[in-house]
Structures are given as C-alpha cells and as structure tokens.
C-alpha cells in the first residue's frame, strides 16, 4: 500500500483548489475550485481508510460528497441570483458588504 503517493496527489489537488479560490475572478470557477479541495480531502480519507483497512474513511467520504452536493446547490443558486441582478459574476466587483 503506497500511502505517500495518494497523499501527494491529494496535496497537489488541494493546492490547485486553494489557488483557484484565491485567484479566480469567476464565481463559478471558485465554486469548482472548492469542489477540487473537497475531493482532495476525499482522496485522503479513502487512502487512509484503505491503508488502515477499515470502512470509516469511505463513510466519511460519502458524507463529504453529500455535503458537497448540497453546498454546490446553494452556491450555484446564489451565483444565479447575483447574475440575474447584476448580469455579471466577477467576484472583484462584488463588494456590497464592504464595511
């Protein structure tokens, strides 16, 4: 069981996700990057689950997938409403909450 390879892969995907969240302007791409991060976590969970030879990792991964689906549902709904109101989903322009 080569655990390190999986962890490296997950770390790379996670970093790509972080980069996407921080650097992308398009809200949809940011949401997709969040998915990348969640899936990196999933890879970790399943890799550890397989390494330790039990099913808990898979169960957690299933929960993460469920939550991710709900999150993306809410997120896309918000993006859609923003787009309807402003005809634009550039995150840099969205500073209505500026203090």
């Amino acid at each position: 069981m080569y655990l390190n390879e999986f962890l490296m892969l997950a770390a790379v995907i996670f970093c790509l996700g972080v980069y996407g969240v921080l650097a992308r302007k398009n809200a949809v791409l940011v949401l997709m990057s969040i998915e990348l991060m969640l899936n990196a976590v999933n890879i970790n969970l399943i890799a550890f689950g397989a390494f330790r030879d039990n099913v808990i990792g898979q169960v957690f991964a299933l929960f993460v997938i469920t939550i991710a689906a709900a999150e993306v549902g809410v997120g896309l709904a918000i993006v859609l409403l923003i787009f309807r109101n402003r005809a634009d989903i550039d995150l840099d322009e969205l500073d209505l909450m500026k203090g």
Binding site: L22, V30, L91, D92, D95, K98, G99
Partner: protein
C-alpha cells in the same frame, strides 16, 4: 456467463455515461451507442438463456456476491442471483429496450433533447436490469428507485408544457407514496430474517416457518404498498394514464413492458413472505388477489370511455397488470409470470403501433383518426395482431397466458377471481375492438396527411409482431417449456406450487367470452346496434359519467387532503383569535405599565450612560477594523487559509 450476468446491467450503464458526455459530438447524436450497447446486452442475455436451458435439471441458480463492507454482522454488498425468472426478465427487458431504441431513432428524429433522451433510455434499461439481477432487497430497492427516477425524467421529457411536467411530478409522488411502504417492508423483513438482506434466505426462512405469520403478513402487506404504486394497482393507479404525456416509445418501454412490471416481479421474486403471509394456499379470497381483481375490472371499464389512444392502452396495461397480480394472489405463480412475458411483447407492439399512428396524424385522439387501414398497412396489421393477442384469441400469445391465470384461479379455490377474469376477458376484447374500429374503420376524420412511418419505426413493429403471435405457444399443451424453464425453486424447500394441466373446457370458455366481447363491440360500432343506449337509460348514463370522471378518485384524493386541512386550520384560527390573543393582549397591557416605570428610572439614567459610553468605544474600534471588511470574498478566503496555515505550522512545531 450466468455468473457474469452483472455485465448485462453494466453495459447500458456505461452507455449512459458515454452518451451523456460524448453523445452530442457523435455522428448520430449518441443513438448508435445506445443501440450498440443494447445489442450486446441482448446477445449476452440470450447466451444466459441458452446456458440456463442447457443446465441439468434440477437447475440451480447462479450466485455471485461482492461484499462492500460488513457492519454489525450485516453484509452490505452487491450481488447477482440468476435463475429462470431472472433470465426471462433479462431477455424481455433487453429485447423490448432494443426495439424501442431502434424505433426512437425514427420517432424522436429532430427532437430538442435527442441525445439526452437516449441517455435516459440507457440509464433506465441499466436500472431495470440491476433490479432484476439483484440478490438482496437493498440493491433491488436501488434499482427500483432509479427506475422511478428515469420514469420521471422521461415522462417530463417535453417539460416546457406544464401538463407534461405535472404528469411527471404526479407519477413520481404517487409511486413514492407506495415506496414508503416498500422501504418499511424491506426493513421489517430484514429484521424478521435475522438481519439479512438476502432474498433467497428470506424466502427460505418464510417458507420453512422460521418467521412468524404475523410478521410476514405485516412485511408482505407493506411491500405490497410499493407494488401497488409501481405496478399501478387500484387505488394508486392514477399516475399511469397521466404518464402517457411522455413520448410514445417511453410509454412502450416503461409504462407497458418493463418498469410497471417491476412490482409484479417483486412479488414473484419475494414470493415466500407473500405466500405464507397472505395464506394464499387457503383459497377463497386475499388482499393480493382482491386488489388485482378490482384493478382488472375498473381499469378495463375506464378503457371504454377514453378518446386518447394511448390512454386506452394505458388502462389496458393497468388491467393486465391486475391480471398478473391476481394470478400471483391466487397462487398461480407460473401463470402470472407467463402473462408478464407475453404481455410485454404485445403491449410494446401496441404502444409502438399507437406511436406510429400519432406520428402520422399528429394527434392522440381517436376521434381524429379513422380509415387508416389503407393508408398505413404495416401499422394496421401489426396493431391488429397486438389487439388480437391482447384480447386472448387462439392461438396468439394472450390466449395461453390468460387461460393459465383463469385455470389457476379455478383449481386453487378462487371462484370469484375466475369470474372476474372472465368478465375482464370480455371487456378486454370489447374495448380493443372499439379502439381498432375508431382508428382503422370508416373515413379519415383528421386534418393531417397520414402516411406510413419510416422503416426505423416499421421494422420494430414487424419484429415485435412475431413474439406477439408465437410467445404463447411456449406453454401450449404438449410443449409446456416455459414452466420448466421458469420455476420458483428455493433449495431446501419442497415444491409447494401446483402447475395444472391444460383444460380444454375452460380454454374454450375463455375463448368464447373473448369472441363474445368482440361480437358485442362489433355490433355496437359496425352495425350501430344499441346506438345512443347510454342516453336513453339513466343508469347507464350515470355509469358513463362516473367513468369519464375516473371514479372521482383524483377528486377524492384532493378532497381527503382538503377535508383534513380545512377544519384543522379553522380550529387553529379560532384558538388563535380567542385564547391566544386574549392572553397576549392582557400581558401586553401589564407589560406596558411596567415598562413606563422602568423607562423613567433605570433606562434614562443608568443604561443610557453605559450604552453611550460603549457605543462610542465601539465606533472608534469599528472604524479601525472596518478596513478588514473589504467585502471581497477572496480576501476573506486568503485570511482564512493564512490563519489555517499558521495554525498548521504551529501544530507541527509544537508536537
């Protein structure tokens, strides 16, 4: 091959993903993937059937099981259980699905969501096959729900029109009502069988008396709720006619030949709890047979007043499903399954034929058809073959299977069901005669220019006409192969179902009844006898009005919901106005008086001083901190990740 039967559901499932992701870029928009996958699956199913027939008797079911995980001693996993019933269903489902795929290339030509349609068809086929091969109730339920989902997607295929999406939602919710029962039933039987999902184990435990009779009755009754929803049994049949809003190939595949028989298949597969729980061998009457019998009659009666040709066929389907459920209810297991087998062919044929008609005249209504015999010869003779097979005329498919059900009812001690079956046979023959008369006889009454359908639609009709004629002969006296191939056999349990020899007297009687049905309907329509009879005799007029309104069942369901909701809401309003408001008003007045006192003494002097001081300091602090609140999500995210990184570094160094 039998052990590798899991390939058969897997291939259409893969086809679903291929069509979904690459379909639009393919030269024929994904239809070739679906047809190719179904051809492979059909060939594999035929190989399975050949191997099953070639096995030495007694044939043993093939098993394969992969455990996903074990939790508290319970095995969760995927598995297959292949016996005669499974093999038969595999062949029927893949064959009908292949025909429907080919037909759809013509019928759906130029549709907006052509690729999507084929993807959903593939997913549906995969789900149905998954349901059929499963060896445990959990996997069966996954297939069952996927099938329901695909049905929803395909009924609402043209969702831009509100009627269609409404019909899809109605179908989904009505079947879901039954599925609550299904889920509870599976849970009940799971615990009853000693925390085990395995179906063969469950049947064995039920038939050897390991599970108490009461538990089995509860479990089987709950499962039967699911069956009533999925197989459109009275009173949950209301969704099936509305489901005709979907494209016609979907009606043929899902709402006639495969999905709606999932309920019948479930009863047949989990027959042990039903047989023992409902005391089917005792004879007389039981819930399963009774529901089936009611469904036979009421649906057949409704088929007389429909103008939409697809709704005639829909009610006919409900009625025939009633026959199957009734057969299982009277202990005629083989007869019920045999009827499922023959019905799949001729009902798919009839639906595809009606699709061909609709394609030609651009209307579902029979009042806008008529005189199509000359204009559409292929559709005409295949539709007639299907109708005659459905009516149960010797020697076509429906005759043999319907006769076996009647035979089972009479020999197993269910005289009432025998009478119902005969009345149903009369009505079936009569309403199909009516439909054929309105469609093909007389003059054309519509405004389009009807023409024969393209070869991609005509060939499936011709091919399906062959089994519609011949399928019944498998169980003809002297041949009797079907009952040998498909048996209910649990290792370690003595055979308890009785197959009866062909009875010429009863067969002759059912044939006579069917001919009488055709004769009566012909006399009414071709000769004009009894014309206007329902206008002259008041009781018939009332009957017609009840039928046109579908027994007011839809109204009844709404009335029940309103009847409960309205008084509850009214009572709640009264309590609200008189009790709660009084209390609230009294408290309000008391509180007001107290509040004035507090205001003058404490608020103005003590609190305001403190608040103003706090406010000033907060304002100062806030104006410093507001720079952090830039309103930019990504800046927040950067802070979050930065803080997390700092914490992580701290964690690494500290430990």
């Amino acid at each position: 091959m039998l052990r590798n039967a899991w390939l058969i559901p897997l291939i259409p499932a893969l086809a679903f993903f291929v069509i979904l992701f690459f379909g639009k870029r393919l030269p024929r928009k994904g239809s070739e993937v679906g047809i190719g996958a179904l051809t492979i699956a059909f060939v594999l199913a035929l190989i399975c059937a050949g191997q099953w027939i070639g096995k030495e008797t007694p044939r043993e079911a093939a098993h394969a099981h992969h455990t996903w995980f074990t939790f508290g001693g319970t095995d969760f996993g995927f598995g297959i259980h292949v016996d005669g019933l499974t093999v038969m269903m595999l062949v029927v489902v893949t064959f009908i699905s292949l025909m429907v795929h080919v037909y759809s290339t013509g019928y759906m030509h130029g549709d907006r969501r052509y690729t999507y349609f084929f993807a959903a068809l593939s997913l549906f086929t995969a789900a149905m096959l998954l349901l059929v091969v499963s060896d445990n109730t959990l996997q069966l339920m996954i297939g069952w729900e996927l099938v329901g989902l695909c049905s929803f997607m395909l009924i609402g295929h043209w969702w831009e029109e509100g009627v269609n999406s409404g019909a899809a939602i109605k179908a989904f919710i009505t079947t879901r009502t039954g599925d609550v029962g299904l889920m509870l039933g599976i849970i009940t039987l799971f615990f009853a069988a000693g925390r085990n999902f395995d179906i063969e184990h469950l049947n064995h435990a039920a038939l050897t008396g390991e599970i108490g009779h009461g538990t089995l009755l509860v479990g089987a009754a709950l499962l039967f709720l699911g069956v009533m929803g999925k197989s459109a049994q009275f009173p949950l049949h209301v969704w099936l006619p509305d489901a005709m809003a979907g494209p016609t190939p979907v009606s043929a595949l899902i709402h006639a030949a495969t999905m709606v028989v999932a309920g019948v298949y479930l009863v047949a597969r989990v027959y042990g709890p039903f047989f023992v729980g409902f005391s089917i061998d005792a004879g007389g009457i039981n819930v399963v047979a009774l529901i089936g019998a009611i469904t036979v009659i009421i649906a057949a009666a409704l088929a007389f007043v429909q103008d939409d040709v697809k709704k005639v066929l829909a009610y006919s389907t409900i009625s025939q499903l009633g026959y199957m459920v009734m057969a299982l209810g009277v202990g005629a297991w083989g007869a019920g399954i045999f009827h499922l087998f023959t019905h799949a062919f001729f009902k798919a044929l009839l639906f595809l034929g009606s699709g061909s008609l609709i394609h030609a005249v651009h209307s579902n209504n029979m009042s806008e058809m008529g005189g199509l015999r000359k204009k559409m010869p292929t559709t005409f003779w295949t539709f007639i073959v299907g109708s005659v097979a459905l009516a149960g005329i010797f020697p076509l498919a429906g005759f043999w299977s319907k006769d076996e059900i009647l035979l089972g009812a009479s020999k197993n001690g269910y005289p009432l069901m025998l009478v119902v079956g005969l009345i149903g046979a009369f009505m079936t023959a009569a309403y199909m005669t009516r439909a054929c008369y309105l469609i093909f006889a007389g003059e054309y009454r519509g405004h389009a220019h009807p023409h024969e359908s393209p070869p991609s639609m005509a060939w499936p009709l011709r091919i399906l006409a062959v089994p519609a004629v011949l399928a019944g002969l498998l169980n003809a006296p002297g041949i009797g192969l079907f009952n040998k191939w498909v048996e209910f056999d649990i290792p370690g349990v003595q055979p308890f179902l009785h197959e009866h020899d062909f009875n010429y007297g009863l067969a002759g009687l059912s044939l006579l009844v069917a001919l009488a049905g055709i004769g009566a309907a012909s006399a009414y329509y071709f000769r004009g006898a009894f014309n206007g009879i329902s206008d002259r005799i008041p009781i018939l007029k009332t009957g017609e009005r009840i039928l046109v309104n579908k027994y007011y069942l839809d109204d009844l369901f709404l009335a029940i919901i309103r009847g409960i909701q309205y008084p509850v809401a009214k009572a709640a309003y009264w309590v609200n106005q008189n009790v709660i408001d009084g209390v609230v008003n009294g408290m309000g007045k008391g509180a007001q008086a107290g509040a004035y006192l507090v205001y003058d003494v404490i608020d103005q002097r003590v609190i305001d001083g403190a608040v103003n001081g706090a406010g000033l300091s907060a304002e100062e602090g806030g104006s410093i901190l507001r720079n952090v609140q830039s309103g930019r999500v990504q800046q927040y995210a950067a802070m979050l990740f930065g803080a997390a990184a700092v914490l992580a570094v701290g964690l690494v160094f500290l430990t």
